[in-house]
C-alpha cells in the first residue's frame, strides 16, 4: 500500500468485529471495520448513536464490556503489534500510557471522591514510577499544559469545584500526562457549551500539534469534523461506509448516507427551505439484512443492494465508499494503491467477489 505519507502507520485496524451476545441474539455492533492512522493525524469517526463508533474505540483498547461483548475477529496493529494478542497485564501498561482516552462526560469519568491532584498523579505514578516532588512537578505540568490556572491550589480541589469545561480539560490533562502516541476522544465536547467547546477544540488542536499525538475523535457533529479532523470515517450499522480526507468528504460525499447526513443539517445560510430528511430509522443491529444496511432508507437503492454488501469503491486516492451506486457497472479491478483499507467490507453473509480488490 502506497500512501501520500510514507511513514509506517501508527495504527492499522483490519476487519475488526465486535459482537454482543445477548438473549435476543447476536448484536453486531462493529462488523468489519478497517482503517489506518498515521502519527499526528486526526481521524473523525462520525455516525449516529448505535452505529458502532464507541464500541470501535473500546475495542481498540480492549475495554469492551465482557462477557456479553467479545471481539470476534480482526487485528489492531499499534506500532506494528497486535493489541488483540496482548495479555491483560500488557494492555494495562499500554492503556493510559501509549493510548489514552477522553470520554464524553467528565462528571462521570472523574472520581467525585478524589482530588484532581490524586487523579492526575495516579496515572503518572503508575506509568512513569515518579514519586514525591518530581511527581508533583509532572502533575502541575500536565494541568498547566491544559491551561488550568492556579494549578497548585487546584490540585487539592474536587471535580465538583470545577466547571464543565475545566473538568474536561482535567480529564484531557490526565489523558495526555504520560505522553501518549494515540488519544481516543469519544464525544469530548458533547457536554460542553458552544463557547466552551470552541475553547476546548482550539486547545486540543494546539496540544496535539505540539505533542504529535494521533487522535481518533468520535463525534456526530460535522462542524467539529470540519474544524479539526484530517480524515473522516462515516459509520453506519457497525461498518465504515465512507472514508476520505475531510475535504473529500465535504466536497464530494459519495455514499448516500454521508450525503444525507451533510444535507439534513440546518446550516443558517441556506435559508428556510424544509430540511432534507433521512426517512426511517437506523437498523436493528441484531437483525441486520444481508445486503447494505442502509437500503431501507436509501434514496438510490437498486436490486443488488438487498443481497450483497457493497465493496470498497475508490472515489479518489484515499477516498472510498461502500456503495453499489458509485460502483462501476461492470466492476473492473480497482487500482489497489488507491484503497486504504484491507478487506474492508467485512463478513456479510455473501461477501463481494474477490476480483473487486
Amino acid at each position: 500500500m502506497t500512501r501520500a505519507s510514507d511513514s509506517t502507520p501508527l495504527l492499522v485496524v483490519e476487519d475488526l468485529k465486535t459482537h454482543f451476545f445477548t438473549r435476543r441474539g447476536v448484536t453486531k455492533a462493529v462488523d468489519g471495520v478497517s482503517f489506518t492512522l498515521h502519527a499526528g493525524q486526526t481521524l473523525a469517526l462520525v455516525g449516529e448513536s448505535g452505529c458502532g463508533k464507541s464500541v470501535t474505540c473500546l475495542s481498540l483498547v480492549r475495554l469492551v464490556p465482557e462477557p456479553a461483548g467479545r471481539i470476534v475477529g480482526g487485528r489492531v496493529l499499534f506500532e506494528g503489534q497486535d493489541l488483540l494478542q496482548k495479555s491483560s497485564a500488557e494492555m494495562r501498561r499500554i492503556r493510559g500510557k501509549q493510548i489514552a482516552m477522553v470520554l464524553q462526560d467528565p462528571m462521570t469519568s472523574l472520581n467525585p471522591a478524589l482530588t484532581i491532584g490524586t487523579q492526575v498523579a495516579e496515572v503518572v505514578r503508575l506509568h512513569q514510577g515518579l514519586r514525591g516532588a518530581s511527581l508533583r512537578q509532572r502533575v502541575l505540568e500536565a494541568l498547566r499544559r491544559l491551561r488550568i490556572s492556579a494549578a497548585d491550589t487546584r490540585l487539592s480541589h474536587y471535580p465538583h469545584q470545577f466547571s464543565g469545561g475545566m473538568r474536561q480539560r482535567v480529564s484531557s490533562a490526565i489523558a495526555l500526562s504520560c505522553g501518549p502516541r494515540l488519544l481516543i476522544a469519544d464525544e469530548p465536547t458533547t457536554s460542553l457549551d458552544v463557547t466552551i467547546q470552541a475553547q476546548y477544540l482550539d486547545l486540543l488542536r494546539e496540544v496535539q500539534a505540539s505533542a504529535g499525538v494521533a487522535v481518533i475523535l468520535v463525534t456526530h457533529d460535522f462542524g467539529i469534523v470540519a474544524a479539526i479532523a484530517d480524515r473522516v470515517a462515516v459509520m453506519y450499522a457497525g461498518r465504515i461506509v465512507e472514508m476520505g480526507s475531510t475535504a473529500q468528504i465535504f466536497d464530494r460525499p459519495s455514499h448516500p448516507y454521508t450525503r444525507a447526513l451533510l444535507r439534513c443539517l440546518p446550516a443558517g445560510e441556506r435559508g428556510r427551505q424544509p430540511l432534507v430528511e433521512i426517512g426511517g430509522q437506523p437498523p436493528d443491529l441484531a437483525r441486520l439484512p444481508d445486503g447494505c444496511p442502509f437500503v431501507p432508507r436509501c434514496p438510490d437503492r437498486r436490486a443488488i443492494c438487498e443481497t450483497r454488501f457493497p465493496p470498497a469503491v475508490a472515489i479518489a486516492p484515499g477516498h472510498e465508499a461502500h456503495c453499489w451506486a458509485v460502483a462501476p457497472e461492470d466492476p473492473p479491478a480497482i487500482n489497489p494503491g488507491a484503497i486504504e483499507t484491507v478487506g474492508g467490507y467485512g463478513g456479510g453473509a455473501t461477501p463481494a467477489p474477490p476480483h473487486l480488490y
Binding site: D193, V194, T195, A198, H220, D221, I224, A247, P266, G268
Partner: protein, 318 residues
C-alpha cells in the same frame, strides 16, 4: 399574547453540608421582559445556566416568579381564577428535551397523549379517543399507535408522541425546551420539519429554547439571547444573525462551527467561564469575559434599550 415583565426567579442556594440556609440566592433569572405574539416563534438561546429553562418553567406555570409578572392576553397569571387557569393550561403546552424520560413507560401512548385533557373536560371517551388518533396522525404516526407503549418507539417517534400530547388540547403556544438536542442528526431534520409544518397548519406560536443555534435559527422568527440570568439581546432572527449587536451574541454566533473544512472565520474565543449565579459580577454580567469592555462596564449595569427599530440590547457600546 404571552408577556413577561421584569421576571425574576431566585432559588435558595445551599452551600455544602451547612444546616439551614447560608449560601444566598441563585439568581437564575434576574429581570427578564419578553413577549411572544400569536403565530410567531421566539428562539431563546444561551449557554447552560443562562436561565433559559427557568424562563420556560415560568411560562408553563411550573414555577412562580420571585418578582415580575407574567401576562396572558393582558391578564396577570397570578390573578387567575380556576377557569382562567384551565384555559391557560390548554393554550400553553410543552415539549421537553428527552423523549425517553418525558413519557411514562407504564402508560399506553393513547393515555399519554390524552393526559392533558382534563378528566372533567366534558368530552366523551369516544371524542377523546378520536382526538388522540387525530393528533397522532397529525404528527406523522399511525392512528392506531395509541395501543402501544413508549418503548416500542424510537427516539424520533417518541418525540412525535410528546408533540402529539402537547397538541391534544388545541394550544396556541408551545414551549419547546431543546426539542431536538437528544435526537440523532438524521432524526432532527424530521422533527424540525414537523414542527415547521405544524406551525403553518395550526398557526401555533413557539417558544423554542435551544443551545443549538442552527436549530433555533431554522424555526425562530425572533431571537432572544440570554446570559447569566439576563437578556442581552432581542431582535428579528435574521438580523441578529447577520449583525449581532451585543459582544456576547457575537461571540456565541462565532463559536458555532461552520460546516466547511478550512473555513476562515473571525472567531472570538471567549476566555473564562460563565459567572457564578450566586455572586454575579457587578455592572454588566458579561464584562469579565467581554473583548470590548469599557471602564464603565464594571460599574454600571447597562440599560435595556432599542438601538435600532426592533433591535434591543443591553450594552454600553450603544
Amino acid at each position: 399574547m404571552l408577556e413577561g415583565i421584569g421576571l425574576k426567579k431566585y432559588f435558595a442556594a445551599k452551600s455544602g453540608f451547612a444546616v439551614g440556609r447560608s449560601g444566598g440566592w441563585v439568581k437564575a433569572l434576574d429581570g427578564v421582559s419578553v413577549q411572544v405574539a400569536e403565530g410567531e416563534t421566539l428562539g431563546i438561546v444561551g449557554e447552560s445556566g443562562s436561565g433559559k429553562t427557568t424562563l420556560a418553567k415560568l411560562f408553563l406555570l411550573l414555577e412562580r416568579p420571585t418578582a415580575g409578572t407574567l401576562r396572558f392576553d393582558g391578564k396577570d397569571t397570578t390573578a387567575f381564577d380556576r377557569a382562567d387557569l384551565k384555559r391557560y393550561r390548554r393554550s400553553v403546552q410543552a415539549v421537553f428535551q428527552d423523549p425517553y424520560s418525558s413519557l411514562n413507560p407504564r402508560m399506553r401512548v393513547a393515555d399519554i397523549v390524552a393526559e392533558p385533557l382534563p378528566a372533567d373536560g366534558g368530552e366523551s371517551r369516544a371524542v377523546v379517543a378520536e382526538r388522540v388518533r387525530e393528533v397522532l396522525q397529525l404528527v406523522g404516526l399511525r392512528r392506531e399507535s395509541g395501543a402501544l407503549y413508549p418503548h416500542e418507539f424510537s427516539g424520533g417517534q417518541r418525540q412525535r408522541i410528546a408533540i402529539a400530547r402537547a397538541l391534544v388540547t388545541y394550544p396556541k403556544f408551545l414551549v419547546l425546551d431543546e426539542p431536538v438536542s437528544a435526537l440523532d442528526v438524521s432524526i432532527r431534520a424530521q422533527i424540525l420539519n414537523l414542527l415547521k409544518r405544524l406551525q403553518d397548519e395550526l398557526a401555533l406560536a413557539y417558544v423554542i429554547i435551544s443551545h443549538d443555534l442552527a436549530a433555533a435559527r431554522y424555526l425562530a422568527t425572533r431571537l432572544a439571547v440570554m446570559y447569566a440570568g439576563k437578556l442581552v439581546e432581542v431582535g428579528e432572527c435574521d438580523s441578529v444573525y447577520t449583525e449581532p449587536l451585543h459582544p456576547y451574541t457575537e461571540a456565541l454566533l462565532s463559536a458555532a462551527l461552520p460546516l466547511r473544512p478550512g473555513a476562515r472565520r473571525q472567531r472570538i474565543v471567549l476566555g473564562g467561564e460563565v459567572p457564578d449565579p450566586v455572586n454575579p459580577p457587578d455592572g454588566c454580567r458579561f464584562h469579565p469575559r467581554c473583548p470590548r469592555a469599557l471602564a464603565q462596564c464594571a460599574r454600571e449595569e447597562p440599560e435595556w434599550k432599542e438601538v435600532k427599530p426592533g433591535r434591543f440590547t443591553a450594552c454600553h457600546l450603544y
